[in-house]
């Protein structure tokens, strides 16, 4: 979200702005300097956090010897309701534990492979300058521990991942995470920070197929994932687990992409990123709608939330969002600001100039019977199909089913309200909870009557006839 007009002009202002991003920026320090300034003041155990949380900022602390204890596990977890997957993890979560360092830290990395593991693993941290990013020194058998040291030379947000053969499979099973190297003095302060990481998964069964789903090597090689998700599973950032903020706060997302294959078009619906550290590096772009995050790459995005509502995080390569799980939520609470966003203020029939007014008014006599259902189906295919799907089956955890829907059949007026005014918040359909937003549909009373009659006469619903009059009363 935009804060103020930023085009004040003047290169001095621009210069000050960018210098301010990295206060006492270590961009101005070369490697030699970092090494010669080698003032390591004491040591500390690194705080590690599971997503979506991040450890406390480094603030003004001096460079230290930072001891990281990372445990590797292989454990079954939920991919989507009813479907499980054997995840391989750094620290028991996908993505793995967030590591927060500052430039000049001397990291002593302890990598431990749980004795129950079937496989050896290692770690390649993109923040490491050295062969294999540490992978060379960290191949660790089950039940063993290895230690290696590195110095953080370059500030930025970096991906780490397992790099044991077969590498793609280790990454595909969830072995990735983020390590942040803050500049001296830390990143600019914000009110909230979160950790979000995208990944693509390849399973023997299609999306939603029940049971423990094994990794599918062929789909992985063909780059045809069944799941594209944030934070390891479908719905990891939805409902109770949504990110939260209050109106007026500044939010920073540390966004990574583990891949193994796909490049993310990261977007937050209804927000504009005030600042993006492109590719997690030092260059800052402003006023960005969608930022590209390569597999094995990251970005830091900052924005201020000005109005309340649910803001949806998506991979704007959009079928991934609606069919493969790449949806998350940021719930913002607080006062409305109608000047920034007014919601619908007026609605009416649109008649193009010189128009086909006749056409718009064509169904003066409301349709009935099969003709009505057919007309409703056309509207369904154009308007509802994308979310609720061809046979009203919906999409698990995202869009509720319309087929044999207890929610629809128990209250027609409630259903009409949802179509006319939109719907947000938690609802329970056929025993499953859905927390999502349905926008108000811009349809005439006749159109609503037709499409709802079609829906009620399809897929095992109660064969209700919906009249334009009923729609009018709810409107």
């Amino acid at each position: 979200m935009k804060k103020k007009a930023k085009f004040i002009g003047g290169s001095m202002v621009a210069l000050l702005l960018s210098a301010g991003l990295f206060s006492c920026s270590s961009e101005s320090k070369d490697t030699k300097q970092i090494l010669s300034d080698n003032v390591i003041s004491g040591e500390m155990i690194a705080e590690l956090t599971a997503p979506p949380f991040v450890p406390k900022p480094v603030g003004s602390r001096k460079a230290k010897k930072l001891i990281v204890h990372m445990e590797i596990t292989e454990e079954e977890g939920t991919m989507v309701d009813g479907t499980t997957y054997m995840y391989w993890t750094f620290g028991g979560s996908v993505p793995g534990s967030f590591i927060r360092t500052r430039v000049g830290d001397e990291v002593e990395f302890h990598i431990k492979n749980h004795p129950d593991s079937k496989l050896p693993h290692n770690i390649d941290l993109h923040a490491v300058t050295g062969p294999g990013g540490g992978a060379e020194s960290s191949l660790v058998a089950p039940g063993q521990e290895k230690v290696f040291n590195f110095k953080t030379l370059n500030p930025g947000l970096y991906v780490y991942h397992c790099a044991t053969a077969p590498v793609g499979m280790h990454i595909a099973n969830g072995m990735y995470g983020l390590i942040l190297v803050e500049p001296e003095g830390g990143l600019p302060k914000v009110d909230r920070e979160y950790y979000v990481m995208q990944g693509d998964f390849y399973t023997k069964g299609a999306y939603g197929e029940a049971g423990l789903q094994p990794f599918d090597q062929d789909k992985a090689v063909k780059e045809q994932p069944d799941y594209v998700v944030f934070n390891g599973s479908v719905g990891a950032l939805n409902g109770d687990k949504a990110l939260t903020a209050k109106v007026g706060e500044t939010v920073r997302l540390f966004v990574g992409n583990g891949g193994p294959n796909l490049v993310s078009s990261f977007h937050v619906i209804g927000e504009i990123f005030d600042k993006v550290h492109i590719e997690g590096g030092s260059m800052v772009n402003e006023n960005v709608q969608t930022t590209m995050i390569p597999a094995g790459g990251a970005a830091m995005v900052d924005f201020k939330v000005d109005v309340p509502g649910t803001f949806i995080l998506v991979d704007h390569s959009i079928f991934r969002a609606f069919h493969k799980g790449a949806l998350g939520m940021l719930k913002v609470t607080g006062e409305e600001n109608l000047q920034i966003y007014s919601h619908t203020t007026k609605e009416g029939v649109y008649t193009p100039e010189g128009g086909s007014k006749k056409k718009a008014e064509a169904p003066k006599v409301a349709l009935t019977g099969q003709a009505k259902i057919d007309a409703g189906k056309r509207i369904y295919d154009a308007t509802c199909f994308a979310c609720h799907q061809a046979n009203g089956e919906g999409i698990p955890n995202a869009f509720p089913p319309l087929a044999k829907s207890d929610w629809l059949n128990s209250d027609v007026n409630r259903a009409l309200k949802a179509v006319i005014h939109g719907l947000s918040g938690e609802i329970t359909v056929n025993g499953k909870k859905y927390v999502n937003v349905m926008p108000a549909q811009n349809l005439t009373d006749d159109e609503v009557a037709n499409v709802m009659t079609f829906i009620y006469n399809s897929w095992g619903n109660k064969k209700q006839d919906v009249t334009p009059d009923m729609v009018r009363k709810v409107r």
């Binding site: 079954e76 496989l119 290692n122 294999g132 060379e136 660790v140 058998a141 044991t164 053969a165 090597q217």
Partner: protein, 257 residues
Amino acid sequence: MSVKAKIQFLIFSSVMLISYTVKAQGTKMVTVKEGKYVPLYGSADKQPVKVETFKMDIYPVTNAQFVTFLKENPTYNRSKIIGLYADKSYLSTWKSDLDYSPLKANAPVTNVSWFAAKKYCECQGKRLPTMDEWEYVAMADETRKDARTKEQFNKYILEWYEKPKTYLNPVGQTFKNYWGIYDMHGLVWEWTSDFNSIFLSGESRKDKGSDKDLFCGSASINASDLMDYAAFMRFAFRGSLKANYSTRNLGFRCASN
């Protein structure tokens, strides 16, 4: 087979297994006829390697068999073995030196070091199989000497990693392969005599400029089959080991000439 018959058969076979184990210290061996194969790593120019005729145990060594060995060789007991020969996880899940509970008698012995495995086989007048011998036998499914190109076979092997705690299962419950040998896949990893040769003495590979460790791109440079993920996993596993290591999913079996 009816359920009842199946149960009877299971009881019968497990009784047989136990009595067999008690009677004979050595596991039954079968002859594996000579042949050639292309290993994932380690052959010059990806040429076939010849494997001479040899004999191999049809099952991995069990806890019951290993405890017999320990009684005869006290220096290999958990409390006595020197650190050079075994790290501290050696037989760490056993109740005591000579009591493998809560593990089962007929489950494969795991958490044993290469030194202990080697010594065990020598005490039977046998030896550990070489990596080529092991891989050669492991290519076989029920009916074919080399089933590596069969999708189902590869899936079977890969799915093993998703089954937790398979080391608790008794030996002889997976399929019997072409040679009459069980448990090459689906139970535990197994030591081979030259498990680390690819990485520690593969000087010809180093000459080509590839790294000794299997990480990132270098893992694929000299591989003979980029789609053989099951083999990648075995080679990576072996590459992570040292001879005094012992882990829960790693057992062994013996071979002889």
